[in-house]
Structure formats: C-alpha cells, structure tokens
Amino acid sequence: MLIKEPGSKTVSKNTEPIAPEVYREMGLIDSEYQKIVEVLGRHPTYTEVGMYSVMWSEHCGYKYSRPILRLFKKYKEALEGEGLENAGVIDIGDGYGIVMKMETHNHPSAVEPFQGAATGVGGILRDIFTMGARPIACLNSLRFGPLDDAHNRYLFENVVAGIAHYGNCVGVPTIAGEVVFDDCYSGNCLVNAMSAGIVRIDDIASACAKGVGNSVLYVGSSTGCDGIHGATFASVELGPDSENRRPNVQIGDPFQEKLLIEATIEALKTGFVVGIQDMGAAGITCSTCETSAKAGTGMEIDVLKVPRRQSDMTPYEVMLSESQERMLAIVEKGHEDDVAAVFKKWGLNAVVIGHVTDDGLVHVWEGDQLVAEVPAKSLADDAPTYYLETEEPEYLKEVRCFDLTKIPEPADYNEALEKLLGSPSIASKEWVYRQYDHMVQTNTAILPGADAAALRIRGTKKAIALVCDCNGRYCYLDPFVGAQIAVAEAARNLACVGAKALGVTDCVSFGNPEKPQVFWQFKRAIEGMAEACEAFDTPVISGNVSFYNETPETAIYPTPVVGMLGLIEDADKHCTPEFKREGDVVALLTGRRITKDSESDPGFCAVNDLGGSEYLKVMHNVVAGQPPALDIEAEKRLHTCLIEAISSNLLSSAHDCSDGGLAVALAESSIGGKLGVEASIVADCSASVALFGEAQSRAVISLPPDKLGELGELVEKHAIECTILGKVQGDRFKIDVNGVTVIDREVEQITRVWKNAIPERMEGRA
C-alpha cells in the first residue's frame, strides 16, 4: 500500500516486493519485473503489477510484433499521429473520412463462440465511434476446421450467430466477409471482426487527455469482474469461488452499445469532450494511461467512483476488468453536466471519476488510499521490445519441391468441378450472410455475394466498397508471396465492382512467435504485405496481431487477413459478378508481364498454377507447391483497366478468378445470373490446369458484343490481354478445352451443389 501523508502531495512508498510466482502468473518475466522496479524506484503494489502486466502484454504492448510492424510506414504514423489513435482514417473527398479497423477475438471465441464473437464485434465498433465516426459497416473473416466435425460445426454455428446478434441489434449492416475451412483451424478457429465508419474530417475526435484540471468521465455499462486476466486466478487474494467470481469470458450487451454509439456521437457535438477512448483490452488501465501518455499529462482517478456490478471489487479488479460497452471521456472543466446529460438521456452511466493532472503520473485512489502511482508513458509506450529469432521452417523444402506434373488428370471434369463448388470454402456463403442484417441504414448498393460489397455515401455521388481476403494456404507455402496475393486479391475484388483501392487494415494471426519458424512466417508475411501495400499505394492505417494460435497438435497457417477500402466515383456505375443477359460475350482479362522475351511469357497457364490450389487440396488432399506467381505491376494494370471499363459502362459483369480457378469463376457468374454459358479455352497445358489453376491477375467479364470495340481500345491502352471465351446463353454450363467438351452440366445442378454445400452440412444431418 502507498500512503499519502495528510495534507501533502508526497507519498511514502513502503511497498514490499511482489513474489515471483504472482507476477509470473500475470505473464511478466523476471527482467520485466526488474524494469518496473527501476521505473518506479521501488517495488510495485499488487494493483500496479497488474496494470503493467496487461499493458506490457503482447496484446496491448506489441512487444514482439512492434519492430516488424514498423515496416508499415503509414501504420506507424497512424499509431503515433495525433488524432488517429484508435483507428486510422482515409480521406474520400467531399470532407469525409472513412475510419476502419479489424481485430481478432480468436481465443474468447474458442471458449464461448457466441459471446466471444459478439464481443469481438462490440469491441471493434467502439474503436470506430470513439473517433467520432458513425459505424456504417461490419465485415468478418472466419476460419474453422472441417464441418464434418461436430465441434467445428458448433463453433461455426455460434460464431455466426454471435456476430449476427450483435451487429443486427446495434443496426450496423454486416456487408461482407470470408469463411475458410481447413484442418489447421480445428481447435484454433479464427474470428476477425472488422468495422468501418464515416466521419467529417473536421470532426474527428481525439484520444488525448488534454487540459490540466479537466474531468475524467466514465460512461456506459457498469464494471464487473469479467474478462480479468485469466492468469491471475492463482493469486493470493482469491477465494475458492474464483472461477465463478471472475469468469474469463465477457458477455456483451449490444443494446448498451447501440445507446453508447448514439450518445457518444451526440456528446461529441456538445464540443465539450476534449478526448475520448473506448475501454477495450485492459479496460480502465489502458484508457487512462494511453490518453494521458498521448497528451503528456497525468491523471488522478478514484476506483470507488466507478459504477460496479459486483460488490467488494478490489482496485486491481476494477482496473483490469474488461467489462464491455464502456468509454472514458475527458471533459472540459465546468461542463461535466452538459456532457453527462447526453449519456443519461440515453439511459447510460456517466460519472466523474477523476481529473487530468500535469505530472505525467496515473494516480489510482481507492477513497483516500493511494493504490497506484505510475508514469503514464511507462505503461503506454515503454513496453519492452523483443527482437525474436527467425528461422526458415523445415517443411518448406519438402512442400516446395513437390512435383506438380505428377498429378493425374481427373476421370471426369464435371465431377471435379462439382467437388470444388461443393467444397465449403468455395461454396455459397449465403447460409452465413442471410443471418446478418446487411441492409439496415439503407445504403447497401452491392449486397453480399459479390466480389466486394458497396455502400453509397449520401450527399455525394460516391460509393465505397469493402472486402477482406486472405489465402492461408498460399501463406503457408510462402508467407511473403501469400501476403502479397492477399493484398492483390483484395484490390482485385474491389476493381471487379468498379472501386479503386484506397487503404488497408489488417488482422494477422499466427502460432507461437517464440518459435523461430513461426516468427519467420510472421516477418515474411508482414514484409510481403508492406511491400504490396506500398506498390498499390494503399496505406495500412490500422491493424491487429494475434499470436499463439496453436494447440499441441497443430498450428494454423499464417493467416494475415487484409481488409481493404475502395472508392467508386459514381455510385450508379458499379458492377457485379453475375451474368446479366443472353448473348453477352464472355471474356477473360489477364494482367500479363510485358516482355519481349517470349520464353518468359507464362502462356495461358502453367502447371505451377496448381500450387497451393483448392483443386489440389480437394481432389488430392495435397497442400504443396508454390503459390501462383504475382506480378504486381501487371495486377495494377488489370485493376485500372477494369475500373475504367466499369465506369464507362462497358461491362455487364466482372468477377475475379481466385480459389478454384477459371472454371469456378465462370460457374459463379453463371449461377448468380441463372444463365448458361458456352466457353472454349485454348491452352498449352492440361485441362485441369486450364480449368482449376489459380493464376493471378485475372477476371472473368461479360459484355454486350457491340461494346467489344471500345473494350479493345481499353485493353490495348493498359496492355491487358483479353481472351474471348464464349457467350452467355441457354441453361447449360459448358466448357471446351482445346476443342474437347470437358464440362457440360445444367446450371441448375451446379447451383444446387454450390448453394447446398454448407446448409447440408449444418442442418441436413440426421
């Protein structure tokens, strides 16, 4: 206990050392404890160690990932720039900015999928409106083990229901996302929630605790013992009922969040809110020390004033609680009531718990007892940084030299196609997005099911498009190229709806970083992503890192998910993937390396395009080879060409070729449009490669024949190759390769396979 001498500012520090078992349980190592002692010039109190342990964890302090993340130039600026503290902003013109961020809730979701996923959505929304932005979209990127396992089905079912529950209730449309199933995610599901909001650039809220003497206002739900550092169970202060007392999982209340959104936006309009920050991980600790560290101020708070849900909470518990739906606002002195009135109108708590000071210290009082006195900066900015070792993983040599030419052709290409269309990773995700309200707010111009979703921006001619993407298998085979492809594919998806890529948020999940092979994957993936983002001129404005996604049996594939924002200049001129009318010409646009040297021209396709493909996995249960090659310059030309073609109203449809290759892309356009196609491919490779190879930088388009001339000029201008494949017609899905009909099915039949794959697995089981 620290003791304050009556009537003085000095504090006598008669603290005892904390036992190593206790701080180690909290996740601190010996050298970190020593560093705390150095900073404080004494031993910390129990509450203080608790505060350091959460702020210096990887989750809050990025102690392992920070050195690598510096590769993102803009990200660094976003993290450190004033006003951009919680989530980055992208200027879309007309005075508006888009704020976006993505975050994982993998571990909570594995324990309690419904609440874990729901609170993930809640947390990411708070990151958005804490900047003064109104949330306008949610997205999610999910990974599960195969659906033939009951536990994976349970996780999938409840994660989706949890996301739906929270997003639907707060009234933010969930407009896009991705779901991938693979063995490596059994026991390690990934739940990444993303959100985007809109704000007038002039109205961006700050997260700085400026102005000595200003009041610190606690708003929102009351504080309970939920979500406190699971590791602290063993500590001395806890009785036998500890598990009941301090549940590891939090329960969210989207209704409170909805109130918090409206009230926060309204409170900011009073002009009296100097700074505001959500309480996410590390709750009050994080919000108090970060806001004061950023402003170079200090803060004094009294935990007894914090609204509580449980009696007898210790200061430690109050400071570390991760109860949901709470915020900390710094309010101009003398205007506390004006601001509190807004929150109270919405039925929320709003209590002054302290004030801003000038000494750079966070003082935590429990009544007249001082329980913590720590430099704000040391908590917020001085987390120890570690440069972990890297080592190229052994498995790579083996998987890379796999001989793809030995893969036999399938006996029946129709069956191969249906197997791919029925693979849950490729199949229709309607079962998922049906459960999400994707139309509330009445701005959704492109509904889920297209390459990217789009929202028109009222009061302008514009629309924004959003997407998230990552192929973990590619990243497993080559994290550098895989991460680059994630960026390229996201941008391609945007281009296919007519949007130009503007910026990126990321959410990267890996195994245990203390294993050099895992850290190597992490480093290579971030290098790839950083390089690609620079090439596409899409700054990384925010992000999140999740490590330790592994069980003794498996580690996940490196999964660096990219969330990307694009802009459509004229909302009326966007495009969707489904065929629109019979008689349209179907063609393939390919961004190809410009080269005089014909030897290096890869031709229509090459056997290497099967590396890491869905085809290889689904048909042969093989994950090997190298991911398809990516030429970023060629990719960019393709996007420019697509965007120009769409804005000139040339295209009826556009759809990117990705998982499952050309055949799957054509099938999806056909299924969506309920229209058949007759396509012929001429290729200097086997039919399986031509149909299912996953060469990059390609898109399937359809257009009226009379627009071919204009398109020709465009592709010429951008040095894009345009291969005419055939025509939209009838009700059969038919593909010839080198003059031989290899695929011929009724559209209705492949539609059934594609649409029923997930519902059958989820519901059809007797």
Binding site: A164, D253, P254, F255, L259, Y436, M439, T442
Partner: protein
C-alpha cells in the same frame, strides 16, 4: 401528410424511415422520442424496426409500456394512422393494437433478404397504390417474424380482409416455399379492424430507391398519403 417516426433507444430503422419519408417521398416528418407523451400533431405514426429496449424477454414486450405508446394508442383510437414495421409490428401486436403475435422464425435464425409479397386486399390505407396481382420486391430482416394467432382470430382477420400482404414467389404464387419464417397463411402484414393501424414484417423503407435494389416499398408508403387525400 405529416409523419412521425418513434424513436426507442434501440430503434435502428428510425433513421431509414425518416430518410424515406423526407428525402424520397418529400413529406414532412419528425422524430418522436419514446418518453414523449405528445405526438406533435402528426397524421401517420411509423413505429420503426430495431430492438426497442434491447428486445429482451420478448420482442416488443417492454416497448409497449413506454409513454409514447400511450399517445400512439390515443392517436389510433381517434382514427389516426399508424404502421409498425418489423419490430414496430411486434410492438403493436404486444400493445394489442393489432391481432396475433410474432414468434421465432421456424428456422430459428435471423433472416435478411429480399422477399416477394402479394397484396391480399387492395382496399386499405396501406395497399391502395398496389395493383391486383402485383408482386412487390421488399426485404425482410428479422428473427421473430412468424405470425401466429388462434384459429378463430385467423378466420376473423381473413374474412374481414385484415390480411394485407402475403409472402409469395416470383410469379405471385403463395406457396410454403415462399414463406420465409413459418407465418400462418404466409401472412406478412395485417391491419386492425378499422384499417387505420397496420403492421408488416418486411421493410418498405428499405425499398425506396433503385440503387438499393427496389423502390416497391413506396407503394405502401404512398398508399396512406393517397388514402388520406381522398
């Protein structure tokens, strides 16, 4: 015609309804906070979608007791117009301003999608701008839109023409496959005996512009304006 959009703390389609009336229909409209006792002289009340008070216990159960619902009841008792959309429909049923109740969808899941509707009675304040045999394309977004009532009530509302909208397929056929939530007789919308109060699960305010995929919702919203003018 002056519209009023009720705002419960958990309403989340209030702004969409407001936008549809003000910016698309170009009619005067005001928000009315759930604590108000006065409806500010509006002609037609919209009880919007959302989650009123979090929709715990049962959807609409708590909202029914808010001060503003007293005022709505007075308004409709005097013949004033009111339409409940989605959660608003649930609230009006709980408040006994409309017959029946809405229970969980038979699939137990939230369902968000465009559905097709066929008007079942054109001679009402809410459907007079629809055409016979017309198929309206309007989205739904709910988890508890399964309309139920006892057999007697069902017979009565069917006989009285109180069913105004039914789920149908693209050709206008009222089939079990076209029923997205298990509602009795594919009922998507009903009115009270007098006809001045309506409830519907689909969201007409979401289908008001081409860029949103459909403008068919305007047929419903325009009907009441036309009806009052007559």
């Amino acid at each position: 015609m002056k519209f009023g959009v009720i705002v419960f703390p958990g309403s989340n389609c209030d702004q969409d309804a407001y936008y549809a009336v003000r910016d698309v229909l170009k009619e005067p409209v005001e928000y009315i906070w759930h604590q108000e006792h006065d409806l500010k002289g509006v002609d037609c009340v919209i009880v919007p979608g959302g989650f009123s008070y979090g929709d715990y216990l049962r959807t609409g159960a708590v909202a029914r007791f808010s001060p503003v619902m007293e005022a709505v009841k007075e308004h409709t008792d005097k013949g004033g117009y009111a339409i409940g959309i989605c959660n608003g429909f649930q609230i009006l049923c709980e408040a006994h301003l409309l017959p029946g109740a809405l229970v969980s969808n038979d699939c137990l899941k939230f369902v968000c999608k465009y559905v097709q509707l066929t008007p079942a009675n054109l001679n009402t304040p809410w459907t007079n701008q629809c055409k016979n045999g017309q198929v309206l394309n309007i989205p739904i977004a709910h988890q508890g839109g399964n309309f139920v009532c006892d057999q007697e009530t069902l017979k009565r509302i069917e006989d009285n023409g109180q069913v105004i909208l039914r789920y149908c397929d693209e050709a206008g056929r009222v089939t079990p496959e076209a029923n997205p939530n298990g509602s009795l007789n594919n009922i998507a919308g009903v009115i009270n005996e007098r006809g001045n109060v309506a409830g519907m699960m689909p969201h007409p305010e979401r289908a008001v512009e081409k860029i949103l995929g459909s403008a068919d919702g305007l047929n419903i919203l325009r009907s009441v304006i036309e009806w009052a003018r007559r």
